[in-house]
């Protein structure tokens, strides 16, 4: 497929004026073609088309939307080797990773299609009338979740497929019945074009209205701002940095009509290694943890950036071991030049903090924008006095914090702000001894992991990829897993409606055979 570099106003293509190009981070080579930054007029056209399309798309049945999502998956697979090649060129990620990520992306589409076919996600509730009730008759009241409207979605750079054009945010919005205007991440515009083509093709094949999906390019902050400020946009999904996410959140709240923003802004994902686990499994943990820190050049939102241990013989041995392991790890190509620069600056910032020292540095593997693994260490006291040590450094680095006393470990736990994940390595004895620690940590994260690693986010019904601020702008949801759909829907209540005018999900006959709460009892036909 010949890339055109043009924006998608639904199925129409548009582009003129200012352009930018992608770069291969492994070779620093500039990649063709030129991509056209969307003008305000183009973004406006996309949003208006999304708004018109919404009037039709919102009433598509679950089965129609499920077919559509599956068609997107098929069209993505049909892109074949071209997608894999362009994506590896634009991201420097290895082919096997991109193939795996494509599988995850298609799997995610299928999971939401299943959710829609099953249909109970709408949280249907029925309270039947009682005309004889005193002092007042009881009306017939029914409610279910309905889509919010056209949604603006900002793609991430670190998952060019799974958190990008057809990623979790787009899929959950489309599944909810919202139309989408997607702001492509400028780091992989060709990948974006290929996938957007797949979606637009699926729109046609599935008979969805033109404008159900649009995609605009933009390197400047203005394109994104214009999208967030547009009065017809009713919600925002974002995955990326704290600075980016927070500015979108603020912008959305400054609107005449504020709109909900679900921004996943990353975190440092503390890992607590408790004493008995450290003494029994220290060696194994040191290897596995080093791998988790440096896997994918550390470019995961769930990368373990803080490691906490209590001072002991075990902790000394652990640090010695992980230092050795870490020193042997070679660097890898980061996604963009900017990301590599930010990473280097971030590591430097940490190093400059008094009381922080470098424990180990990986090996420089050579060409392109290499991220060199960096392991730092400090004390709980230093951490407690320097809040910037909790800020994310995106890339293959981590900070080991040693607590001289158990109280210091608890103090660190209490001081933590919100994270996507918190991990504990612990034996049963550890968990019993540190039960108050577990209770504190439960208040700090969206996901708690015992004896595992935070990297690797399972796409399933129970996943929570979220967490208290600043991990996200709204802890009450998730951007991975089927619960993500609720971000883009609101309950609508129908009182005194005749059967024929009710949505199918609320009709007495329950044509879709979904689970419903009828007069307070969960029922399934």
């Amino acid at each position: 497929m010949k890339l055109t570099g043009k924006n998608f106003i639904g199925s129409e293509r548009s582009g003129s004026g200012k352009t930018f190009q992608a770069e291969n981070p492994a070779t620093c080579a500039v990649l063709s073609p030129e991509f056209f930054e969307a003008t305000p007029a183009e973004i406006n056209a996309a949003v208006e088309k999304a708004s018109v399309a919404f009037q039709e798309y919102r009433d598509k049945t679950g089965i129609q939307k499920a077919d559509f999502l599956e068609a997107i998956g098929e069209q993505i697979v049909a892109l074949g080797a071209e997608l894999i090649q362009r994506c590896t060129e634009e991201t420097g990620l290895p082919e096997a990773r991109i193939i795996g990520e494509r599988g995850r992306t298609v799997g995610q589409l299928k999971l939401f299609a299943q959710l829609l076919r099953e249909g109970s996600w709408v949280d249907a509730r029925i309270d039947t009338a009682d005309p004889a009730r005193l002092p007042l008759p009881k009306p017939d009241v029914r409610s279910m979740l309905r889509p919010l409207g056209p949604v603006g979605i900002f793609g991430a750079s670190n998952f060019p497929l799974a958190f990008s054009v057809a990623g979790g945010d787009t899929v959950s919005a489309l599944a909810a019945g919202c139309t989408v205007v997607f702001k492509a991440h400028p780091a992989h515009p060709g990948t974006c074009e290929l996938v957007a083509n797949a979606i637009v093709e699926a729109v046609k094949i599935s008979g969805m209205p033109d404008g159900t999906f649009s995609m605009v390019y933009g390197k400047s902050i203005e394109a994104g701002q214009f999208l967030v400020r547009h009065p017809l946009i009713k919600a925002i999904g974002f995955t990326g940095s704290y600075v980016g996410g927070k500015s979108i959140f603020d912008e959305a709240n400054k609107r005449a009509e504020p709109i909900p923003v679900f921004a996943e802004m990353g975190s440092t994902n503390p890992v607590f290694i408790l004493p008995e686990a450290l003494s029994q499994r220290g060696e194994q943990i040191s290897s596995e943890l080093a791998a988790s820190i440096t896997q994918g050049v550390g470019q995961f939102c769930t990368n373990p950036g803080l490691v906490l241990v209590e001072e002991s013989e075990g902790s000394t041995a652990f640090k010695k071991r992980i230092k050795n392991v870490f020193g042997d790890i070679t660097s890898g190509v980061m996604l963009t030049h900017g990301m590599q620069e930010n990473f280097s600056r971030g590591v430097e910032r940490l190093q400059k903090v008094e009381g922080v020292r470098v424990l180990a540095t990986g090996k420089n593997a050579g060409d392109g924008y290499q991220g060199i693994p960096s392991l730092l260490e400090t004390t709980a006291n230093t951490f407690l006095n320097e809040h910037t040590l909790e800020e994310e450094v995106f890339g293959p680095s981590s900070l080991i914090i040693t607590a001289a006393k158990r109280e210091d470990l608890m103090a660190v736990a209490n001081k933590l702000s919100g994270h996507l994940t918190v991990t504990l390595h612990a034996t049963e004895n550890d968990l019993k001894e540190f039960s108050s620690l577990v209770s504190v940590l439960e208040q700090k994260a969206g996901r708690l992991i015992i004896n595992g690693y935070p990297t690797g986010v399972e796409v399933c019904h129970s996943m929570v990829h979220g967490g208290p601020f600043p991990a996200t702008s709204d802890s009450r949801s998730t951007s991975v897993g089927t619960r993500a759909i609720t971000r883009f829907a609101r309950p609508v209540c129908y009182q005194g409606f005749p059967q024929w005018l009710l949505p199918a999900e609320l009709q007495d006959s329950n044509p879709n055979k979904i689970s419903r709460l009828v007069n307070g009892n969960l029922q399934r036909d």
Copy 2:
């Protein structure tokens, strides 16, 4: 019980310095005692106590919390005639209404207690492990809703029991497992003290930690601001005016850690009367609608403030009839002097708009802060050109809008911003003919009512008392009905946890016998 006028720092009472007093709006008499405005130190003490109490309260079982909520109800009933008398004195509302509202408040506590005893509200989800899965083993992942933390709640003046101290916001927060610092509405401080005493007594009886509930007084905006800005407060519930709610929403978003705000800010609740219904039932509708507009001196968030008709013989007859009915309605005492002044100013503001004229005015019944019913009329064209006509005038008034053409009626519908409710009076033929209108209106409100009236909000599982901005600050929830509990909870995910460390709701044995989504299938033991 002797009223002290002091703030509740958990079970401790505190007050000194600045005071204010309640006023009987029916007699303009100042009521004893003096109430002490909370100082920042007192609010801080209440929040810190709520934060400490949260560490224990969050782990109370559903049954323990249910017992607690029911104990609150019993303590409120035990206040007997004293509560009813003080409440009527402070609000000017008739005794029968207050007794009814007490019933609703106690019923609401019982409904949430039922929800907690049943237990499935936590949305438990389990995805079991598959160590043999390729390329990577599948971890054991489970999640459920957990409470956000201490919540600040602002009471409304118009429901001195059902939306006040032990009202829907407090109850849903306590049910979720959050502790509460309640900001009493200064219009009924004695009622607040009595009910707060009942809650504090229930805290003791039920063995809940001291600080589970606190209540602070404040007439100034600063007390509320201090509460919203406090770093230990994790969410806000509010019911009241747009100005009050929006300023709290903005304040909460300006925090270093923004927190969710559910502000119910009222609306004008448009009522569309379609042609056939108008011609068949115009007389009945005119009487019922006049009653709905003036019931409770119009002091309901769901008061019908806009009435839309298409110009016809039927509409002319309807306006003539409702004019006659309305002219015979007598005024009633409004809740406060300020409210009466705002109402008068609001009606004046509407009257001054060119193209708006007074259709009917009710009769002045005499003493106290009387709200005189006021019915205005205008054309769709005037409405379309003057956006302030959609703003709420809190009290017994409504604006009848006549559309010269059907397109104008559709234009009005399309132009509407968010409302709590939209009502349609329609025959089956009307509904078929106006299907596109129904589709538009579904996007404008939290609740759609056919052939009923928006006043009278049923407390049940399916109720949605919410709606798009500016009706609320977050359309994705409700402040009435059991779904309100989700405002104060977030999903927490447990990966690789041993059974004994999991919350009961997520253990394999399902000790509470709740409904759970297990590997994507809804199961109930």
